[in-house]
Amino acid sequence: MSVTKKDLVKVNNLSIGFTVEEQYIQAVDSVSFSLGQGESLGLVGESGCGKSVTAMSILKLLPIPPGRIEKGSIVFNGKNILSLAPKELYGIRGKEIGVIFQEPMTSLNPVKRVGEQVAEALTIHLPEMPADKVRSRILALFKEVGLPNQEDIYGMYPHSLSGGMRQRVVIAIAIACNPKLLIADEPTTALDVTIQAQIMELIESLHKQYNMALILITHNMGLVATTCDRVIVMYAGRFAEVAAVKDLFKQPLHPYTNGLLQSIPTLDTKGGKLSSIKGTVPHPSKFLPGCRFAPRCPDRFKQCDQNTPPPLKEHKKGHWVSCWLY
C-alpha cells in the first residue's frame, strides 16, 4: 500500500494466536497495513474478529502467554516494536501512543482521585516536570477535553463522575503527553447516543488540532463514516477490505462489507425485511480452509471453499480487497 505521507505505523504480515483451553486459536492471520502521520483509520468488524488484538499489538499490549505473535513485524515511528526491551516499550506506551479503552468504568482506578491518575500518566514520562506545572497542565487538559469546574474534578473519585465525564478523563490521560498516535478501542460503546456524539466530536477535534494519527476500533459503521479517512474491514482475523471511507460506503467490494452495510437499519429504510447475512460468525477454533466468510457468502463459488483468498489486491486506486471475486 502506498501512502504518500511518512508512515508512522507499518505492520507487516502479522499473525497472532492464543492458546485457550488447550486449543490454539489464530486471532489475527497475516495482516499488513500502514498508517501515515495525522491520518485517521477505522478498524471495523464484529466481536472476536481480531480488531482489538491487531491494534493493541502496536503497543505489544497482549497477554503473552496465552497469546503468541507467530510472525510478522510492527514498526512504529522507525522502531521495531516486537524486538524492543520492556523498558523501551514503557517509554512508548502512554507517551507516543495514547489509548482510550472501551469501559470508562474499569479503565480508571476507583480508589484514586482522577487528578492524580492524570498526573501519574504525565510524570511517568516527564519526571522532571515541577509539581505546580503538572497541576496547571492537568487543569488545562481537563479544559481541553471539555470538563467543567476543572479544579473540583481534579480532586474527585471516578465513581462520582458520569460515564461521559469519565471517558473525558480517560481521553485526558491518553493525550497528556501529546502522543503521535491515539488508539480508541470502542470509545463510545458503553455510552449513550447523545454522549457518544459529544465524545466523538471531542476525539475528532483533538485528532485534527494536534495532528495525531487515530486508530478507531469500532463495530459501528456510522462512526467510521463520520470520523475516519480510511477503513479496514476485518472478518475472522483477516482483512477483508481496505479503502478510503468515501469509496467504501459508495461502493463496497467485499461481499461481507456489502452485507454488513445492507443489514444496518437506518433512518431512511422503510420497515419490512432487512437484508441480512445468513449464519453466524464462526468460532476461531472452527475456521474452515478457504475463505472464512465463504459459508455465509451469497456470491461464493468453488474457489472460495478450497483456497485461502488472495492477499489484498488493489482493485481501484486506494481500494484494496481480499476476495476471489476480484
Binding site: E46, S162, A197, Q198, S263, I264, T266, G271
Partner: protein, 322 residues
Amino acid sequence: MASDLLAVKHLKKYFPVQKNMFFGKKAFIHAVDGISFAIGPRQTIGLVGESGCGKTTLGRTLVNLEKPTAGEIYFKGKNTADFKYSEWYEYRKSVQFIFQDPYSSLNPRKTVLDIVTTSLRSSNLLYSKKKLAGRTEELLKLVGLSTQYCHHYPHEFSGGQRQRISIARALALSPELLICDEPVSALDVSIQAQVLNLLNGLKNKFNLSLIFISHDLAVVKHVSDMIFVMYRGKIVEKAPGASLFAHTGHPYSKALISAIPEPKVGKSKERIILKGDVSTPVGEMKGCCFQDRCYMAQKICKKQEPPAKQVAKEHTAFCHFA
C-alpha cells in the same frame, strides 16, 4: 377502552435511595414517572431513550417484575391490581418478555429443551415428556434453529442463537404481547438484522403485539408503528414512526435523531450536540424534565410542565415550543 390489549394509566415506579448515610430525607429515583399509553392487538410500540430513562423499568413493571408505585395496568380492560391467581396465570401466558442479555438470561445448567419448556412445565397443565420434546422441536423450527440442538447447553451457542432460544422460550405459551427489552443491542451487527427479521416474521405470523425497547432509534423505527421517546421517566414525544422523523416536535428527539452516526458519507446533516449528561431522576422536578440540557430552554420551561401538543396526526410532543 375494551379493545386495548394492555393499557397503562399514570404508571409510576420510584426506587428509594438514601441521600445521606445516616440522616437526611429519603429520596426517590423517579424511574417511571406517570406514564400512560395503550397498545392494541397487532400493534408495535417502540420505546426509545437513553440509559436511565426508565424504559427498561417500564417494561419490567408491565410483566410484574417490579411492583408499580402508583398507577394502574389494565389487561383486556381488567385492572391487574384486582387479579386473582388464575388471572395472573392467564396474564403470564399472554404477556411475555425477551431479555437484553442473551448470555445471562439463559440458565447455563439447563438444556435447550428445559429452557424452552420452562413455562410449560410450570403451568397447571401436565405435559408428557414426548409432548414437551415435540413442542420444543416445533418452537426451535419456528425461530430458525435446528431441532438437533434440543439437548445442548446455552454456552454452546452464539449470541444470536441464544437470543433465538430466548424468543422460543417466550413463545412457548403462545403469548399475545411480547415485550422485548433491547433484544438486539448485545448482538453483532450482522446478527441484529437476522433477529429483527425473525421478530417481524413472528409478529405477522402470530398476530403479536410488540413493545420494543431500545436505545437505537434506527432499530426502533424499523420495527415500530408508534414510537415513544422517553426522558427521565417521562414520555416526551409520541408519534407514528414516519411522522417522528418528518415533523420532530421535541428538542430531545431532534438531538437524538441528529446524534445517530449514519453509515453514509457525504450527507452532512445538522448535528445537535447536547450539553451535559443524562442525570439520574432523583426527586421531583419542577417544569420540563429536559430543561437542563435543552438548547432552547426558556424561563417557562423551569416553571411549567409542558402540555401535550398535537404536532401532526396521532403525533404529540410534550414541549412548550412544539
